[in-house]
Subunit: 188 residues, 2 copies
Amino acid sequence: MSGARANAWKRLGQRALGDHRIFQLQEQRYESPRNAHVIDAVVLHAPDWVNVIALTPQRACVMIRQFRFGTGAVHWEIPGGMIDPGEQPLAAAMRELREETGYVSARWVGLGSVAPNPAFQSNRLHTFLAEAALLEGGQELDPSEDISVQLVPESELDGMLASGTIDHALVAVAFHKLDLLRRGLEVR
Amino acid sequence: MSGARANAWKRLGQRALGDHRIFQLQEQRYESPRNAHVIDAVVLHAPDWVNVIALTPQRACVMIRQFRFGTGAVHWEIPGGMIDPGEQPLAAAMRELREETGYVSARWVGLGSVAPNPAFQSNRLHTFLAEAALLEGGQELDPSEDISVQLVPESELDGMLASGTIDHALVAVAFHKLDLLRRGLEVR
């Protein structure tokens, strides 16, 4: 590696902009260490999120399809959601898998965490692998959810990710972490 | 695959919430096809984004480090940014690589696009590979940018991604697409 070090900016203040249920917006005033330039940056605070790659004994991945308000389209996804206040990431992952799909697992592996978008989001996404996942019950959906469960053979996943059939960035990140784990790397 | 189909929700209306320079917020009212439940969903409209994996003839990746206001921390990233109005994704990728790092390339390969977060964002991220990248000039930074250029040997990238040293989800997605390309898959 080469090059100069990147420096932290100095935070001069902040103010709340609005509460939008799934996230809160804040304006933060920062001063550049390079030229003392001052910027008012908008920051989106959401709870940390989880998502889950659940694999059945028959080598299928438990995927979901749901309409998303951001894009106005139905996407291929893996189960996941917001961590509740005081909840541990693994507990949230187990809960979201069960509620959204009815599947459970006794074999959980952490796939680490990422920053969904450091440019304007403060939260993290924690990813888990649930092996030997089994269907135990029905879905437990909120009135505001409409989720279709779909079993996808593991052998089809890379093709779906390459082609853009699976086009949700945060879902792709989970499968990338699993790839790295399977190549023998320690994922965090 | 198995399971019921996921259905689109019916949009009943929308209203602007606010303009935050790098994105605009809108509230969209939707009705569920499952139970006629009505929800007011917040949608973040940003321009499409690009990012670039630039590799030098010496098999190094041209990475950047910069302080990010969302997390209040310095992250390892690849060059990228917002597509200007009327600009093509490839042109934006060439521009961002040059402005942020001073590197240029004559060999560009598309790595497809993803939805950064379909749950509440409408935009897409377009990813490119720039091969045989060469340093042609200096950086051209906005007053609001402070970017350190770092050359990272390609052989170190998977380790940095697995360990979370590279923890920006949208950067990880780019390297995932490159992996899929190198495994012989057609990426879109």
